[in-house]
């Protein structure tokens, strides 16, 4: 028995050796060729029917990946450690070469930006569908860990800056942000008990709630809950609500208005939200005073930041605006989150959000406006004070 065991060990050893030899043969894409993927991608896809690729190379890059080359490099640096291809698990090209981090990031960004099928995206890069699937998910997982600092509730200094911008641009003192929500549509398998995901418009969808600052940067995000849930419920399910309700958020110093009324910190939201001491909704338009109408105008302009941010998000990352085919509902929230992170990275990096990319219509077109009747007396007082200010 003993010699037999020994031979087994030897066999294993030989296998390992063979494996190592085989692995060492796998060619790694030379570092000098890191930009080759872009040249070949551009050459291959610039004249594709349906695309209107700008002739300028930098603009062309943004057209496909939504980010500038500089921001792209930054994103690569964030996820390099997680995506770098190492034998034996490294992903390989059709040619048998290990994929560079740059090409993996490009594949993932293209998949998110275009919302095209994995097969189409794979074809445009010369890789298979399964590679696109793996690369995109690895990228999402990596970003989820490495890019969190791009989406956080602002610290004291930052919130002061935001409030000052809301005041100067929209005439809303002590305003910290604007809130809105949207539906991310999907199809579900017929065999699944999918009624819970069926929303009021009979689509299957998942909700995304976002609070944005004056630059349309997401400062708070909630996603993963079914699309049939009203926005007011969604808000109540959020950590943001709990924090505000318990006085742990939007608890900065109240300021005195010109009339001497105290105005605390708050965010603005549409008719779908309740009027709360820290969430201000507009006046109903029936028989309102001039001051209230004027307040509604300011409120609307500020609230549009959130509307435009969601339009920009769904337009830039078209995977969110196209109807996703049977997504894994555990993974879909991560996909949505990464798109929000990318949206913020673009702003943080100083890239301009391309307004041409945003959805032409409302981000939630096809859905009727929601209306929440709830009025908190403290919220009403604050709104009246703001209207008077």
């Amino acid at each position: 028995m003993a010699p037999h065991k020994k031979s087994k060990k030897n066999k294993r050893g030989m296998k390992k050796l063979k494996k190592c030899r085989q692995l060492s043969v796998v060619p790694i894409e030379p570092k000098t060729s890191d930009t080759d993927w872009w040249d070949s991608f551009r050459h291959k896809n610039s004249s594709t029917p349906g695309y209107s690729v700008p002739s300028d190379e930098a603009e062309g890059f943004k057209y496909f990946f939504r980010v500038s080359k500089k921001t792209f490099e930054y994103i690569c640096s964030l996820v390099r450690e997680d995506l770098i291809s190492r034998p034996p698990s490294g992903l390989i090209n059709i040619e048998g070469r290990l994929l560079s981090v740059e090409k993996q990031v490009a594949i993932a960004l293209r998949r998110l930006a275009s919302g095209e099928s994995q097969v189409s995206v794979g074809a445009s890069f010369g890789v298979g569908q399964s590679t696109v699937s793996q690369v995109t998910w690895r990228f999402i997982e990596a970003m989820e860990e490495r890019a969190r600092h791009h989406l956080k509730w602002p610290d004291f200094n930052r919130i002061e800056d935001i409030k000052s911008k809301f005041d100067s641009s929209y005439g809303l003192p002590n305003c910290c942000g604007a809130i809105d929500a949207t539906h991310i549509m999907m199809t579900l398998p017929a065999v699944e008990t999918s009624d819970d995901w069926c929303d009021q418009e009979n689509n299957y969808s998942m909700l995304l709630q976002g609070i944005v600052d004056h630059e349309m940067r997401f400062i708070d995000v909630l996603t993963g809950l079914p699309g049939g849930m009203p926005f007011s419920r969604l808000l109540k399910c959020s950590g943001f609500f709990r924090l505000c309700d318990s006085g742990d958020r939007l608890n900065g110093k109240a300021i005195a208005s010109t009339g001497g009324d105290m105005i605390r910190e708050y965010v603005v939201g549409g008719f779908g939200y309740p009027l709360l001491p820290w969430l201000i909704t507009p006046y109903e338009t029936d028989s309102i005073l001039n001051s209230q109408s004027s307040f509604n105008d300011k409120h609307r302009a500020a609230r549009l930041l959130a509307v435009r941010a969601l339009s920009q998000l769904k337009g830039s990352w078209r995977i969110l605006s196209k109807v996703m085919w049977r997504p894994d509902k555990r993974k879909l929230p991560s996909i949505i989150l990464i798109c929000c992170l990318l949206h913020n990275i673009i702003i943080d990096s100083g890239d301009t959000l391309d307004p041409d990319v945003a959805l032409s219509g409302h981000h939630d077109s096809g859905y009727v406006d929601q209306y929440c009747k709830h009025v908190d007396p403290l919220g009403r007082t604050l709104r009246d004070n703001l209207a008077k200010a």
Partner: protein, 243 residues
């Protein structure tokens, strides 16, 4: 054993004869994929293109209403029911043969509503071969079946309070929560929504308030259309709310 009874007089076995009668290709070189692809059914028509084709909500609405019922894929089901015993019940005292002598259509809706959850489980099992022909994601299907069982167990534990509620496992990402990702249950009964933490998997935050039911109950007026332009929701509190 029960299936080997028919004699092979014509050179074709019973399965080939059945396939031949139904217009399904026979022989070793079956091209069932192309048959299923060409066979009209409501769910497979855009399986490979839906991601790249923007679909209008109204279109989806129609589609979803067609397929959400328990008897989805009727045509495909009938083909499969012809081939397999889909749970037909024989009234005689004889031992039930594994294959149907006279294949019958499986009507899930004929079962009582109280067994709806169990029916769902059964349907998933029965539909595994069919579903696999549309999606190769077998792992996902297995997960779904596990989910289904979990729901049943939880329903028993929850008692009467949650009777009539449907339950969905959800992964919630909330950047205001530590760790961001929280596994939750969403319970829904018409316009009444409840969100609960999933024990063991949740990451605790605001422990004082968050234990147990969050109780986001939207009573009666929720979702009621009062004006043509708005859908009106009541945010107001009630006894079940822990806020």
């Amino acid at each position: 054993m029960l299936c080997s009874a028919p004699a092979q007089k014509s050179g074709l076995n019973w399965l080939d004869r059945l396939r031949f009668n139904k217009g399904i290709p026979t022989g070793d070189d079956l091209d069932l994929d192309s048959f299923l692809a060409n066979h009209p059914n409501p769910t497979s028509s855009d399986s490979s293109h839906s991601i790249s084709e923007p679909t209008r909500p109204s279109k989806i609405r129609t589609l979803s209403s067609e397929i959400s019922a328990a008897d989805a894929r009727p045509r495909l089901s009938s083909v499969l029911a012809d081939l397999l015993n889909m749970g037909g019940r024989l009234s005689s005292g004889k031992k039930c043969p594994r294959k149907q002598t006279n294949p019958k259509f499986f009507v899930a809706s004929s079962l009582s509503n109280s067994n709806a959850g169990i029916v769902d489980c059964a349907q998933k099992d029965d539909n595994v071969p069919a579903t696999n022909s549309f999606s190769n994601d077998t792992a996902k299907l297995q997960e779904e079946r596990v989910d289904c069982c979990d729901v049943e167990e939880e329903k028993e534990n929850d008692g009467n309070e949650l009777r009539g509620f449907s339950k969905s496992e959800v992964t919630v990402i909330d950047t205001s929560c530590p760790g961001w990702k929280v596994e939750k249950f969403v319970l829904r009964k018409n316009n009444v929504w409840k969100v609960r933490e999933r024990k063991g998997k949740s990451k605790s935050f605001t422990k004082k308030k968050n234990k147990g039911t969050l109780g986001f109950v939207n009573h009666n007026s929720a979702g009621v259309k009062k004006e043509p332009k708005f859908v009106e929701y009541q945010f107001g509190s009630n006894k079940e709310e822990s806020l």
